[in-house]
């Protein structure tokens, strides 16, 4: 007697069509990633901006490498990037460890704070730090001078050390996010074994925990180096006054120069690309090792908190201090200055004569509303596009034995090797170079979407991949055994399990896409007004306090989205048993891709 007399499995398109569709999709994305970059590289060997004309020349490179300032800039960039990455790694991983592995009070609440640091754009955080830590008029220095009677300046953000600190504090959340899962995966028995052998906590940390998360640390460091090296707000806002030039500031300058600027910038970008490509390869190797270390946890492992009566408070203070300096202080400064008519720190306390005039100006300017709507819509569309693309790429890269899996991973991570500005130049030239394409899509919003989607693939991939890896192969195999097609298994089993990671990634992408300028500055469609431009307008005509008011107002949307995303991501989540590690054999969830 059987329950259901052999219910037939319905016809489905899957096994033949799906692999073809997916392969096509990957090819399209790969082209969108590779071609603009290739064009930039070609451009660096030319002296005109028309692709394929003007002959091949090494002139740009000889000028670039023969210029002594290039080497000084490179040196600055290396020191700045290395220092910033090291500091970010330290801050981020210590915070991650404190909040996952030690019984720090108010852990759950504190874990929101590193993310909040991300929400504030650099154009809010950097000027705020100037107000706090500037050499001549920084509030800290004024305090030391006026109240404590010290002479000279205590801190100076306009220095290499200052820039490193800025980069370290504001990039730490990236390290934090990467270290979260590996640290949570450390089995308590490993720590207990160390304790039974007589090791104190510090020893255990260095000898047991550190090696376990080493691949994650390595992948975090490579990512941090790339991110810090390609950020241009800090080198421009803080580096220029401090007299410290970095590579990205140089590229920015070249693009600004009317004649042959683009070719020279392309040469600079190509040199930059060489370095970052190496870093991306290192990163990919490191993440591959990360995955192997996931299996160490073993079946049915548990993760428990370390009880440390004194340390927990030390770490608590540490995390709170980080949150203050990284988020609360900049936010506070911005809010306070938004109520000022002007910000002058010459005579004692700059915070007086509060007024609502700035907010009045913000609310009566129609562009603010249209800017928020446009940027919001753009960000939403980009977020959906990125999450979709990355999920497909992540599944192919991590859960199949397809011959395209390495390519899928490479395609998703490759865009990070190019600064957003450079990519958008490449995309601009790509579209222009292909006559039919230009007529169809040039100047349309679609191109803006493409640029931002490609630029954000790596971030989303990083956030989603670790969650996808954690899904045991057997859960997907069980779905197949139940008769479900590949697509169904992904949609009904894989995606619900990684839902929190998807929403978290969506929140991060939305925030970034909302304020993104570099990727789209040359691609902005007509009759479109975006928030970064509205900000710039206020900055130019209204000064810093009015800009602060605008920033506060325009921040409401991304903040709301972030909270919504967290809520949706964790909706209906029940306490689940600790995620069991994927089998060390790494058995694949085999799409019938091998036939392609």
């Amino acid at each position: 007697m059987s329950i259901t007399p052999n219910a037939a499995i319905p016809r489905r398109m899957s096994n033949r069509a799906l692999p073809i569709l997916v392969s096509l999709f990957i090819a399209v994305v790969a082209a969108a990633v590779a071609v603009p970059v290739a064009i930039v590289v070609i451009l660096s060997f030319q002296t005109v901006t028309t692709i394929g004309r003007g002959g091949f020349t090494l002139e740009n490179f000889t000028t670039l490498l023969g210029d002594p300032s290039t080497w000084e800039t490179l040196r600055n960039t290396v020191v700045f990037t290395a220092g910033g990455a090291a500091l970010a790694l330290f801050l981020g991983s210590l915070t991650a460890w404190a909040l996952t592995s030690v019984n720090v009070p108010l852990r759950n609440f504190l874990s929101v704070l590193p993310v909040c640091v991300l929400i504030l754009p650099p154009l809010v955080k950097d000027p705020a730090w100037i107000i706090l830590f500037g050499k001549d008029t920084g509030l800290v220095n004024l305090f030391a001078h006026d109240v404590l009677g010290m002479s000279g300046s205590v801190v100076n953000v306009f220095s290499l050390l200052g820039m490193i600190t800025v980069a370290g504090f504001f990039s730490a959340p990236t390290a934090y996010t990467i270290l979260l899962s590996p640290l949570r995966g450390v089995d308590r028995s490993l720590l207990e074994a160390s304790r039974m052998s007589g090791a104190k906590l510090g020893r255990t940390l260095f000898s047991v925990v550190l090696p376990l998360v080493r691949p994650a640390l390595l992948s975090a460091v490579t990512l941090l180096v790339i991110l810090i090296a390609s950020g241009f707000e800090t080198p421009v806002i803080i580096g220029l006054p401090g007299g410290i030039k970095t590579f990205i500031a140089e590229i920015f300058e070249s693009v600004s120069s009317p004649v042959n600027g683009l070719n020279y910038a392309a040469a600079q970008a190509t040199v930059y690309l060489l370095i970052t490509t190496v870093l991306v390869i290192v990163y990919l190797r490191a993440t591959r090792n990360e995955r192997r270390f996931v299996a160490v946890g073993g079946r049915g492992h548990t993760h428990a908190l370390i009880e440390a009566p004194v340390l927990r408070w030390v770490l608590f203070v540490f995390v709170v201090l980080y949150a203050i300096l990284g988020f609360l202080a900049p936010l506070g400064v911005t809010i306070l200055t938004s109520f000022l008519p002007y910000y002058s720190a010459v005579n004692g306390n700059p915070f007086h004569d509060f007024t609502l005039a700035n907010y009045a100006a913000v609310f009566t300017t129609p562009q603010v509303r249209s800017g928020i709507i446009t940027s919001g819509t753009l960000a939403l569309g980009v977020t959906i596009g990125v999450i979709f693309c990355t999920t497909v790429l992540a599944v192919v890269a991590l859960k199949t034995r397809s011959r395209f899996r390495r390519i899928a991973e490479l395609v998703a991570m490759a865009p990070i090797a190019t600064p957003a500005l450079v990519y958008s130049v490449g995309l601009l030239l790509t579209v222009l170079a292909i006559p039919g394409l230009a007529k169809a899509i040039y100047g349309s919003i679609g191109v803006m979407y493409v640029a931002e989607i490609i630029v954000f693939l790596p971030i989303a991939m990083r956030l989603i991949a670790s969650s996808v890896i954690q899904v045991q192969e057997e859960l997907l195999e069980a779905s197949r055994m139940s008769g479900a097609s590949v697509l169904r298994s992904v949609v009904f089993v894989l995606i619900p399990i990684i839902r929190p990671a998807l929403f978290y990634a969506a929140a991060v992408i939305f925030i970034e896409a909302y304020r993104q300028l570099a990727a789209i500055v040359l691609l902005v469609a007509s009759n479109v007004s975006i928030v970064p431009y509205v900000s710039y307008t206020f900055w130019v005509s209204g000064g810093y306090p009015m800009l602060s008011a605008l920033n506060i107002v325009t921040l409401v949307l991304p903040l709301a989205v972030a909270f919504l995303a967290f809520g949706l991501g964790n909706l209906g989540r029940r306490a689940r048993p600790a995620r069991k590690a994927a089998g060390a054999a790494g058995r694949g969830f085999e799409l019938s891709m091998e036939r392609i």
Binding site: M1, I3, N15, A478, S485, F492, P496, R574, R576, P577
Partner: protein, 357 residues
């Protein structure tokens, strides 16, 4: 179902070498072997989760795998109960079991009926609204079982179903599985390393080692009459002795041991005087002089240790130059250093040609 000549290589490592066996419809077969024997790989090939490099698989009259063609797992209609159950953490039990039916686009009412029926069969009808994290290990296994059976598979595969359970639960679950199988009458294949489990549930046992099929036979035959040294040592935890054939009369053989003592036993092989031979004696068949009748094999021994295990005492004795484990009654009083004699019925002694690995 039938497999013929299954072969698989991982790089230079041949994990399956020409595996061939057959399982009649409605019967239970166990793949028995230690880790690395290839039993799990074979199971996964039956499921469709691994692709053979060579060979054929036929299930229920349909060819599932052959040179150049492979029916993917989702189209085979085979039920698989994973060792770790593989329940989806985000679905209620009802939905787990209903999943295969929803895939097959059954109507809601039909699904409702089938799921309730399946749940009742495994004794879970109370727990349908729960999530897996709220269930015990044993209950989770039943869910996995119900999920594998609900769509009426033509083949049921179970991967080490009893390994994760404690002794008491193991026995109970084994019985329940047997009953279930008899009710549903689905062709069933177990994979296990536990020979007691294999003996208990199967109609036939396929013993595997290093990717090869060593022997296929009924449990009784394998236990009582092993035909290879491997099977003899693996099944029944036999004590193994090496010696030379001294005397052969029909299937009765006398083997001379290195220290001069001799043992008589039966052999399935053609042995001649002078052949190197292996003698396999199960601990359970060994008695000490005074505890039982004298059958004709007596070997002097000395007690090395005596360990109380609750239901019995395990003695370790040295005889003929090696150590023997012998279980005795729990009120046995032998002590370390005692000299005794080992007695064993020649009919219970297997003698094999030492090259029949």
């Amino acid at each position: 179902m039938r497999v013929t000549g299954l072969t698989k290589d991982y790089g230079t490592n041949r994990v399956l070498d020409d595996v061939t066996f057959e399982v009649p419809e409605g019967s239970v077969c166990t793949l028995l072997g230690s880790s690395g024997s290839g039993k799990t790989t074979t199971l996964r090939m039956l499921a469709g989760l691994e692709r053979p490099d060579a060979g054929e698989i036929e299930i229920g009259g349909r060819t599932m795998a052959t040179r150049g063609a492979l029916v993917p797992a989702e189209n085979r209609g085979v039920g698989l109960v994973f060792q770790a159950y593989a329940l989806w953490p985000h679905m209620r039990i009802f939905d787990q079991i209903a999943y295969p039916l929803r895939v097959r686009r059954l109507k809601r009412a039909a699904i409702e009926t089938a799921v309730t029926e399946a749940a009742r069969m495994v004794g879970l009808e109370e727990l349908l609204r729960r999530y897996p994290s709220e269930l015990s290990g044993g209950q989770q296994q039943r869910v996995a079982l119900a999920r594998a059976l609900v769509f009426g598979p033509r083949l049921l595969l179970l991967d080490e179903p009893l390994s994760n359970l404690d002794a008491a639960l193991r026995r109970q679950t084994r019985l329940e599985l047997e009953q279930l199988q008899k009710r549903v009458k689905v062709t069933t294949i177990y994979v296990t390393h536990d020979q007691e489990e294999a003996m208990a549930v199967s109609d036939r046992v396929v013993v595997m080692s290093k990717g090869r099929v060593v022997t296929i036979d009924t449990p009784r035959a394998i236990y009582d009459r092993p035909t290879t040294v491997f099977v003899a040592s693996f099944v029944g935890a036999s004590n193994i002795l090496h010696g030379t054939v001294g005397n052969v009369v029909g299937d009765r053989v006398e083997v001379v041991l290195p220290d001069g003592a001799s043992i008589r036993g039966v052999t399935p092989h053609q042995l001649r005087v002078g052949d190197p031979a292996v003698v396999a004696i199960k601990p359970i068949d060994i008695a000490l002089r005074g505890d039982g009748p004298d059958h004709g094999n007596a070997v002097p021994a000395e007690v090395l240790s005596s360990t109380y295990i609750g239901s019995q005492i395990e003695l370790v004795l040295r005889a003929a130059g090696r150590d023997f484990r012998v279980p005795v009654e729990r009120w046995d009083t032998h002590a370390v250093g005692d000299r005794v004699e080992l007695l064993v019925d020649p009919a219970r002694v297997s003698v094999l040609h030492s090259e029949m690995e």
